[in-house]
């Protein structure tokens, strides 16, 4: 059986997968699993080719996907109907916000099953922040306050070589649309309207939201397109804050000297918004081992395994029981993430969400290069977003109309 996954835990992904899969193999010695780790980019492209593999391409059995790809895969006819495969399969215990992303839109047929999830939050070093504010929770509640803190931190640490107020959590070291989403949502707009007929991408509010996030790079508060290994981290003292969807608590907790606190992402509008991102598993329709694949999916969803895997890669379980147990296991986590969860949002489960994210990712990649080369202009970004809006509305008319 072949499992295609993403590098959930960076450089340690292969080791973590090997260790998790060894647990499955212990229970199912006759089932052989090979793991292939692909970046999200590669997986995205392969989602459009796996239906017709060439003779030299392998056929995966189970594939890890972000929650908002389900509708696309159903539309393509690539995902197996899990409800048909096992009518007893249910999403009763799944976190409510993640349920809709497992179904074929408009039906209760399950096509992908939740594995784990993460939520965007602001992590900060308490010792660093203490130097610039007496009340971090208050000063970091708004984006304006956050930028002011960044400025103060930079002044305070100006003698520390390679210091940045904000550590870039994006794996590509670039501007990340997923990290920018809370800023956009904070302005009261979303990628698409609730009836999926129009997009807000070209609107003033969307542009302002995106600009709030880009300011981190423009003002050099956060490094972009720099060698990750050459940059300092919060743990090493070369950064003080980080907007990340991973819990980070276990990483920070490992260094007892570093006291890290967690807050909601600073609000660009009236209320803070968090991005709740689920990771699901689906079974390829071409799989010859659907029963074993389903066995693995059920194994991943089991409470003990949810706990084991999510703690390995520093994220959250996708099912209520283990999720709330994890929150309750540490008072600090319960308080911090209790607030964040109440404002958490997901991306819509429609055919074109993945495409919209690709379009915006490309725009941000161009922005990042322009910022580094010192030729970024807001007008150029606005034009790109206007163009993107037209393209998205065309896509909506084709696929969601």
């Amino acid at each position: 059986m072949i499992l295609w996954v993403m590098p959930d835990s960076g450089d340690r992904s292969k080791e973590n997968y090997a260790s998790f899969i060894s647990l499955f193999k212990k229970e199912n010695p006759s089932v052989d699993i090979s793991v292939r780790v692909f970046t999200r980019n590669v997986l995205w492209r392969r989602m459009f080719t796996i239906k017709h593999p060439t003779h030299e391409e392998e056929v995966p059995d189970i594939i890890q996907i972000p929650h908002y790809w389900t509708a696309l895969l159903v539309r393509e006819g690539v995902a197996t109907n899990l409800s048909e495969l096992d009518s007893s399969l249910s999403l009763t215990d799944c976190l409510p916000a993640l349920k809709d992303h497992c179904y074929q839109p408009g039906t209760k047929d399950i096509f992908s099953y939740p594995w784990w999830c993460d939520m965007s939050a602001l992590h900060y070093r308490a010792d660093h922040l203490k130097l610039v504010t007496s009340d971090p929770a208050r000063d970091l509640s708004t984006w304006k306050g956050f930028l002011e803190i960044c400025e103060k931190l930079r002044d305070t640490f100006k003698d520390v070589s390679g210091y940045y107020p904000v550590q870039n959590s994006d794996w590509r070291g670039s501007l990340s649309m997923r990290n920018a989403l809370p800023c956009v949502w904070g302005k009261g707009v979303d990628l698409v309207s609730s009836d999926f007929a129009t997009t807000a991408v070209g609107t003033k509010a969307f542009k302002e939201g995106l600009r709030s996030y880009i300011l981190l790079a423009l003002r050099n508060y956060m490094p972009i397109l720099r060698e990750r290994g050459s940059l300092g981290t919060m743990v090493s003292g070369k950064a003080s804050m980080m907007i990340s969807r991973k819990q980070g608590l276990s990483t920070f907790g490992a260094r007892r000297t570093t006291r890290v606190r967690t807050l909601p992402v600073p609000a660009t509008g009236a209320q803070s918004q968090a991005y709740l991102s689920g990771m699901n598993l689906f079974i390829n329709v071409l799989s010859q081992e659907k029963k074993n694949a389903l066995k693995f999916i059920k194994f991943c969803a089991r409470e003990d395994n949810q706990k084991k895997y999510t703690s390995m890669i520093d994220v959250f379980p996708a099912f209520e029981e283990p999720f709330y147990k994890l929150l309750a296991s540490a008072p600090q986590r319960l308080v911090a993430y209790g607030n964040i969860l109440s404002s958490a949002r997901t991306l819509p489960n429609i055919t074109i969400t993945g495409t919209i994210m690709e379009i915006l990712k490309h725009i941000l990649a161009v922005c990042a290069t322009q910022i580094v080369e010192g030729r970024f202009t807001q007008a150029a970004l606005d034009r790109a977003l206007d163009q993107a809006a037209k393209e998205i509305e065309y896509l909506l008319s084709i696929y969601e109309g």
Binding site: V42, E76, W171, R172, E227, T355, I359, V372, E373
Partner: protein, 503 residues
Amino acid sequence: MFDKKSYTLYKFHKHLNQSFQNKRELLECALPVLRNLFKLDRAYFFDWQQERALLSLRMMCKKEYCMDKQEDISVIGEPAFLKQLLQHGVAETTDLGYPALYALIKWQRPSMELRDGEVHTYMQEKVGVIRLERFRKSRVFTPQEKDLIKSLAQEISHNLRNTEIDQTKNQRLNVSTALNDLSTIFASSLRLNDGLELILKGVKKYFRFDRVRLYLTDAYGRKIKSVLGVDVSGEVMHGDVSALGEQESVLLKEVFSSSVTYRSTRSVFYIPLKVQRNKVGFLAFDNILSRRPIGFLDFISLQQFASQMALSIDNTRLFERVQELSNYDELTKLPVRRYFNEKMAEEIYRAKRFNLTLSLMIMDIDWFKQINDTYGHQIGDWALQEVSKVVRSCLRQTDTPCRFGGDEIVIMLPRTNSDEAKLIAARLQELISAITLPTRYTEDKEVHLSISQGIASFPMDADTSDELFEKADKALYITKQNGRGHYAVYREIADQLDQPDGE
């Protein structure tokens, strides 16, 4: 005898001396060997995007395995490093806090481009970088190691070139096999529409586009007549031409007025289908959902395939036109006798097989000879055309009319008994009697047309085609005898035929 460097190079060469499907496979083999040779902690491969001054991380090797990675690093602020790397092929960096050595890899891959409408093949230079890391500060790379790494990088470059050439050959082979398969499918399809559906499905499957659409236009390329498409699910769909609205003319102008050129950034292509000056339509391919660029090889291959496709569609259209001409009467646009007879035989067979009824109606324009003699043949032809228009417009799709000769029109009415046939006859009479000859030819007299009809039905009146004709003709004869402008069913007037003066 080999010295140590030559021996290492030889072993490395031996290790890579195998056939790799692609760059990824080659690197998955080469990086772990480098890691072992130099006792590295990590080895990385980057693509160098020169236009954006970015090193894009693609693969990491750690312990015994390799893993896809993605990270963009700007080298715009590193002129000294770049200079050293480009001049010497290797460069060291201390940014990471431990020894790291970069080695330049340059290779060539076959590429194609369009120049003056011609496809040119050339070798395009690609640049990559490998980075070798040792986490212990004391384990710096010695000059001998640097020299050896530079030579090994050249070996990788050489292998990358061969792998890319093999990959391109395989791609071309796959494409030509696909096109060959598609041509066979098309050639073996009996109906144009079936063939086109199979072709579109095939193109979608082999070339793995998100959508493929075929727009068929009139010969001038001014109007889209139909749209056939295959969407992301692989299902064939008949598109709605009217949905294009005002965009239709813009689209047609764009497709036919400019020559289609390849742009690597585009994920939508239109390829016009033309045969000499005749426009047939155009093909549209897109990857707008997946955002994958369409490869030049695919584009060029499909462009060549499109000419074949255009020719086939044009031939089929021509064949259909010839068929139309041979099956339909030029003046009245009604089917001719041969076509009618074939249909009649089919319908009689069906009626017998499934116990269905069928009626045959023969009609004449009353006083047609007099119209010709009085007002000329031009008016006679006009009258025939007007009557045919009425016949064509008021019959059902299943009915088949035919110009049988002169002013005689025959109508076959499947699944129709004599009572239903009479209703149709009455409707035709009513509509035709409303036709008046143009007054400029009749000296302002109002001359109305009228018709006489004879009807015979299967199976009540006859059970063969010839017999039906005979009985319907007799019924028409009696109608004419009885003063014209009416209709009669054979069964109802059969007794009149037995009388001597009715013969």
